[in-house]
């Protein structure tokens, strides 16, 4: 039997029917057409499907879509405005902090969560916080630099 779910995604009310076995990631991609969140591993190891659920950072591959009834989901699609990229996104571009790009949405969502908790993290803190976001292309250095530069810009300091 399908489950009827009413929830909120990126500030908009959303309603869908899904199988009880569907994950939030399945529904985001297949029902709602939000394909920014990626399925890397499906087991919570790679972080490519990172979203926020009621403000908590989580892997959407390990959340049942049915669990989101009455909750609030934030995905990569809600990060930029129609006018401008988020500083994390512009700095990832500027630093060439991506190659294939599959890990990038998860890194942006996770790094944004970190900077909201701690606007001035050390490099070590960024590395620890993003340990659950795997990137197989860049070697991480440019990603970490982009996050630190974005943080500086968001604090109003020259990056």
């Amino acid at each position: 039997m399908k489950v009827h779910v009413q929830t909120e995604v990126n500030g908009e009310a959303v309603e869908f029917l899904c199988d009880p076995t569907a994950t939030l990631l399945d529904v985001l991609r297949d029902n709602l057409g939000l394909r920014g969140s990626k399925e890397g591993c499906g087991t919570g190891d790679c972080g490519a499907c990172s979203v926020e659920l009621d403000g908590a950072l989580a892997c959407s591959c390990l959340i049942l879509a049915a669990e989101t009834q009455g909750r609030s989901v934030a995905t990569i699609e809600g990060v930029a405005t129609p006018e401008a990229l988020h500083p994390l996104q512009s700095h990832l571009l500027k630093s060439a902090g991506l190659q294939c790009g599959v890990c990038t949405p998860g890194i942006v969502v996770a790094a944004k969560h970190l900077l909201e908790e701690d606007p001035n993290p050390t490099e070590e803190a960024v590395r620890y916080f993003l340990a659950g976001n795997l990137c197989r292309c860049t070697g991480y250095d440019k990603i970490i630099r982009a996050v630190l530069d974005a943080a500086a810009e968001m604090r109003g300091e020259a990056a």
């Binding site: 009880p20 087991t43 950072l57 892997c59 049915a66």
Partner: protein, 295 residues
């Protein structure tokens, strides 16, 4: 994942009634909290329940409170929230550190201490810290509640003391008094995203004169389940944690450690690391007894 029904009762009574009905109907029921272990196990076909009961809408499982002398951490409270709770961060820095070692930031946003305990991995990081701190498991039964010390809750690898129809509701511990400190440390080949080769938790309390009045040392990943190394604690009581007392505690812990050899370390290596970690953890807990610090 194999098909299942999903329900999320919103009260203790509704949860108890649904559990009883499922038991009567012979439905294979699985409780869901953070799901970071459960969903992986279901995707891999290791578990195939017919009914998922999500307990996160039962208020008691989301409690994070200090009531008089007791700290309560609801069974489905996510790790990120538990470690940031002021009393946990200040009075249980060892437990807070153990929580911080669970998986990644994303996993900590969902994974619960209750789930970590029910999953009953021999290497679960929070379990030795919970045991050393004297946590009790509060369990919902068919007709009431029962409590069990955490060290008696895990009964083997992946096995716990919950009977059919029972659910872990919360973890409770006495709030430590003055001159008390806890610590948890583990050994892993990598600094992050790894599983403990050995983990040791300690809670020490000093008397007015600075002598150790009580000492609880819990060992993880050196036996099928984490356990209280009573002789190691006893070796410290009445001392000031002098080097020879630490050596005695380490020797007592190594004597009761029964590690296996696997890809993460040989039994002999694990036993020796267990001794090293006991000394480090006791020294750290001792420092916290005097500074009350949250290092």
């Amino acid at each position: 994942m194999q098909g299942f029904a999903y329900e999320a009762p919103s009260s203790l009574d509704a949860l108890r009634a649904r559990l009883a009905a499922a038991q009567g109907a012979g439905e294979l029921t699985q409780v869901l909290a953070g799901g970071t272990d459960l969903l992986v196990q279901m995707k891999q076909g290791q578990r195939a329940p017919g009914l998922i009961l999500d307990i996160k809408r039962v208020g008691e499982t989301q409690a994070l409170t200090v009531d008089g002398d007791w700290l309560t951490i609801g069974a489905s409270v996510p790790a990120a929230k538990a470690k940031a709770f002021p009393l946990v961060a200040e009075a249980f820095p060892g437990l807070a550190h153990a929580i911080d070692l669970i998986g990644s930031s994303q996993i900590q946003g969902r994974a619960s201490l209750g789930g970590n305990l029910c999953n009953a991995s021999p290497a679960g990081d929070t379990i030795p810290a919970l045991i050393a701190n004297g946590f009790e498991a509060q369990i919902l039964t068919a007709d009431g509640l029962r409590t069990l010390p955490v060290e008696a809750f895990v009964t083997g690898v992946g096995k716990n003391a919950l009977a059919s129809g029972e659910v872990l509701l919360a973890l409770k511990a006495p709030v430590p008094g003055p001159r008390s400190g806890d610590a948890y440390q583990r050994f892993t080949p990598r600094t992050e995203m790894d599983i403990a080769v050995v983990g040791v938790g300690a809670r020490l309390t000093l008397d007015d004169a600075g002598v150790i009045a009580s000492a609880c040392i819990a060992l993880g990943a050196v036996a099928p389940q984490a356990f209280l190394a009573e002789a190691a604690g006893a070796a410290l009581v009445g001392t000031r944690g002098e080097p020879q007392a630490l050596e005695a505690a380490a020797a007592a812990a190594m004597a009761v450690a029964k590690p296996i050899s696997d890809k993460r370390g040989s039994a002999d290596f694990r036993r020796r690391i267990c001794g090293v970690l006991v000394k480090r953890v006791v020294a750290q807990a001792l420092e916290r007894c005097t500074t009350g610090g949250t290092k």
